[in-house]
């Protein structure tokens, strides 16, 4: 509270003081900024001075020891012995370098790992392409269809590739696959649910409300368990569904419920006049929806959708509880190797770095997108 009070007291926030005090010759902007920083933010008030000084203590106790561990005393190359001599000294990045194939591809058989890498690249390429608004045309959908077929063939075998069972798929490839396939399966379902929830047809609306609210009301882990335990019992005897597909279904049901709610907000934001204008022009209901309403609704909620997708990507790590080897689980298991003596710190730090990089740039991208494609920007032009 006092910090806020200080924030408000800060004279740099009050423009009129500057105009009163302005000298005849204005100082250079850099000098002004520095003076403002020094006199305002860092040492302007007694409280800010205390905070600045306390910050030095924070650097000494937290920041420096961390950098010392992660960079200065770290072991970058060599084998387990090199790190063992340095036990308790610094990070052993040599461990990550040695285990990188396991962390990225899990239990996928060694000689075939190139296929897993290729699948990873195909998915990453498609995601990057989807991020470019200029490419938002129907060929992109075709590319996704073809791309995912290629990914499944690359991973699973066929067309001259040796078959690989889904229970050894793993690592970053699996994380990305669960995420991408889950979202692809969820998208049409989400649109249907959102439309049903907004429709005049009471029966459909009721079904959609029930589906969305129940799914959103329970934890993701519960959905995962429901899919893994209940789903096999719901199929005729003998029809087995493998674990990965079950997890996939759980992810897409869960994502669909959240996407549907976001889309509904977008649909609500489309003014009624848009429907009326479209009908007046003689467009059919379906044409109105597809050409007028949905594009606007989706554009409005794109930042929200990207945020949900980032959270879903982080959530894919939870498939570990049903025994899948995703990126995080692979990193965790890699640390159990006796050769390296439980390098959990490094494994988690590496996983955190990877997740952070991906998600941080994802959220920056979302902000950029908000500025460049959201309808509000067009209005303000």
């Amino acid at each position: 509270m006092t910090a806020v009070a200080a924030a408000v007291e800060n004279p740099s926030d009050l423009p009129f003081e500057e105009t009163v005090m302005a000298p005849a010759v204005p100082p250079s902007p850099l000098r002004l900024a520095l003076r403002r920083l020094w006199g305002g933010g860092l040492f302007g008030t007694p409280l800010n001075s205390v905070i600045t000084l306390a910050y030095l203590g924070f650097i000494a106790v937290v920041v420096w020891p961390f950098l010392d561990w992660a960079l200065v005393k770290a072991v970058w190359t060599g084998n387990g012995d090199a790190c063992r001599q340095e036990v308790g000294q610094g990070a052993c990045w040599a461990f990550v370098a040695d285990k990188i194939r396991f962390i990225l591809f899990g239990l996928y058989p060694g000689p075939e790992q190139g296929r897993s890498a290729a699948a990873l690249l195909v998915m990453a390429g498609l995601i990057v392409a989807t991020g470019i608004p200029a490419l938002w045309r129907w060929p992109l959908l075709v590319a996704w269809g073809v791309g995912m077929a290629v990914v499944v063939i690359l991973l699973g075998g066929g067309f001259g590739l040796a078959p690989v069972a889904t229970d050894v798929w793993g690592g970053m490839t699996l994380s990305l696959l669960v995420f991408v396939a889950g979202v692809l399966m969820a998208a049409p379902l989400a649109v249907a649910l959102a439309l049903a929830r907004r429709s005049k047809m009471g029966g459909l609306r009721l079904l959609s409300v029930l589906g969305i609210e129940i799914t959103r009301g329970i934890p993701f882990i519960a959905v995962l368990y429901a899919a893994t335990l209940l789903f096999p019992l719901m199929l005729p005897a003998g029809a087995a569904v493998d674990k990965l597909l079950r997890a996939q279904i759980a992810v897409s049901i869960f994502v669909a419920a959240f996407l549907a709610e976001t889309l509904r907000a977008g649909l609500q934001a489309v003014p009624k006049g848009q429907y009326e204008a479209a009908y007046a022009l003689g467009l059919s209901r379906w044409q109105t929806l597809r050409r007028i309403i949905l594009p606007q609704a989706i554009r409005t909620v794109i930042p929200g959708i990207v945020n949900i997708l980032l959270n879903v990507f982080q959530d894919t790590s939870l498939v570990l509880v049903i025994g899948l080897f995703d990126f995080l689980n692979a990193a965790r298991v890699a640390a159990n190797d006796t050769e390296w003596m439980g390098r959990h710190d490094e494994a988690y730090a590496f996983a955190a770095l990877v997740y952070f990089t991906l998600c941080f740039f994802g959220s920056r991208y979302s902000l950029w997108l908000e500025r460049h494609v959201s309808p509000h920007r067009r209005e303000s032009r």
Partner: protein, 421 residues
């Protein structure tokens, strides 16, 4: 985990109400004629399309249900909750109520539920304290502080909760052994075997303790209602009056009843004996990791909510309050916070709900929460359907209660806003 979407707007109470409730409300208010209108409205413009779609969904559901019951019968399982009274046969690491493997499944589920409640309540409390301080620090004019908090928030938001949980679990297990225990406060020990805090032991049945607490809260509510009615008028609008006072009253009333009731409870301090710490209340390392992990994870969202809430108050409000000659602290307390809370509280409530749902991640580090116990139940006795029904029922009830409370709150602040106009 998916974070709560901020509510549409705190001023529109009906925005979040499920359409079914609106419909029922409308039917009751508008009378039979309007209800008939609404029923015919249900069919929409394409009744056949709807019939077909609903019929298809129902047919799939019925088919799945029939295969399910067929499969269960084939496996020799009869669906039903009768199994809850049978002996569970598995141990649970920690529990609020006495529990052993010989106890029933029902009791095991209750233990899991209480454990979920424990970790959810304590995490919400810690997350609020952390988040409030961080949110205020984020607004500091000192760039070092606000930037550091920003980095903290970004790191938390951009890494999976599970990863953070593994980190805390690792940290807790790397704490010193009981003999070199850290003792941040007298009577509190932090070790690799968990957190030891002073406990309160009930000498009589724990029920009397619960009754005492309930009595205290009841007395506090009565006192508060009386004060609201007859208390000084100028205090009624203050934030402290609305939040701090009821809490203080509840604590005071409980203490009073405690004093009156005599030595029902005694304070039990943990102490080092040999190689371990005995006495007091022990919180397992898994619990501590989960508690800190959930609280830290949620504190990032709470900090953002607090910041957004304070920033949502227009600058003119600050300026007007200052022009009236109010000192800075009172500007904050009497003018800015009450308006900010209107934005903060609904979002905070949904943060709490999602924290509670996230607590099911406990299963990954072996804390026996509701989902963990139910999963064991499902795997052990084959009571998959029942276990999942209980899971859905408990979490859904919780979500519905929370959104009902939130609607009530929204309704209140919306009315208040109109009255002031």
């Amino acid at each position: 985990m998916i974070r709560p979407v901020p509510p549409v707007s705190p001023g529109s109470p009906s925005a979040r109400k499920p359409p079914v409730l609106l419909w029922i409300g409308g039917a009751l208010r508008g009378g039979v004629a309007s209800a008939a209108d609404r029923i015919s409205g249900w069919w929409g413009d394409y009744p056949r399309v709807q019939l077909l779609a609903v019929g298809a969904v129902l047919a799939v559901a019925v088919w799945l249900g029939m295969t399910l019951s067929g499969n269960l019968a084939r496996l020799g399982l009869t669906p039903g909750f009768g199994f809850l009274s049978r002996s569970a046969g598995f141990e649970i690491g920690e529990s609020w109520i006495p529990y052993s493997a010989a106890d029933s499944y029902g009791r095991a589920v209750a233990v899991g539920f209480l454990n979920t409640v424990q970790v959810a309540v304590l995490s919400c409390a810690l997350a609020t304290v952390l988040g409030l301080s961080l949110g205020v620090a984020r607004l500091s004019s000192n760039p070092l502080l606000s930037r550091t908090v920003q980095v903290y928030i970004e790191v938390i938001r951009n890494t999976p909760l599970l990863l953070q949980l593994f980190f805390w679990s690792l940290t807790v297990h790397a704490l010193p052994s009981p003999r070199q225990a850290l003792s941040p406060l007298p009577g509190v020990f932090l070790t690799n075997r968990g957190l030891f805090t002073p406990g309160i032991t009930a000498e009589e049945a724990p029920l009397s303790g619960g009754l005492l607490m309930l009595g205290g809260v009841g007395l506090a509510v009565l006192l508060w209602a009386a004060l609201r009615r007859w208390g000084p008028a100028r205090l009624r609008g203050a934030v402290l009056w609305r939040t701090g006072l009821p809490l203080g009253l509840a604590a005071a009333a409980t203490a009073l009843l405690w004093g009156l009731a005599g030595p029902v409870w005694t304070l039990d301090l943990p102490r080092l004996t040999g190689f371990n710490i005995t006495g007091g209340r022990t919180l397992s390392p898994e619990f501590v990791a989960l508690w800190i992990g959930l609280a830290v994870n949620t504190s990032a969202s709470v900090a953002e909510l607090v910041r957004a809430g304070i920033q949502s108050v227009p600058r003119g409000q600050w300026e007007a309050a200052r022009a009236l000659g109010l000192p800075e602290r009172r500007v904050m307390r009497l003018v800015v916070l009450p308006q900010a809370l209107r934005v903060i509280i609904p979002a905070l409530t949904s943060s709490y709900v999602s924290l509670t749902k996230h607590s099911s991640i406990a299963v990954a580090i072996g804390y026996p929460d509701l989902v963990n116990v139910l999963n064991t139940t499902a795997n052990q006795g084959g009571h998959v359907l029942e276990a999942i029904s209980i899971m859905i029922f408990v979490y859904l009830t919780l979500s519905l209660i929370t959104s009902a409370l939130m609607n009530l709150y929204n309704h209140r602040v919306a009315l208040r806003g109109e009255n002031h106009r």
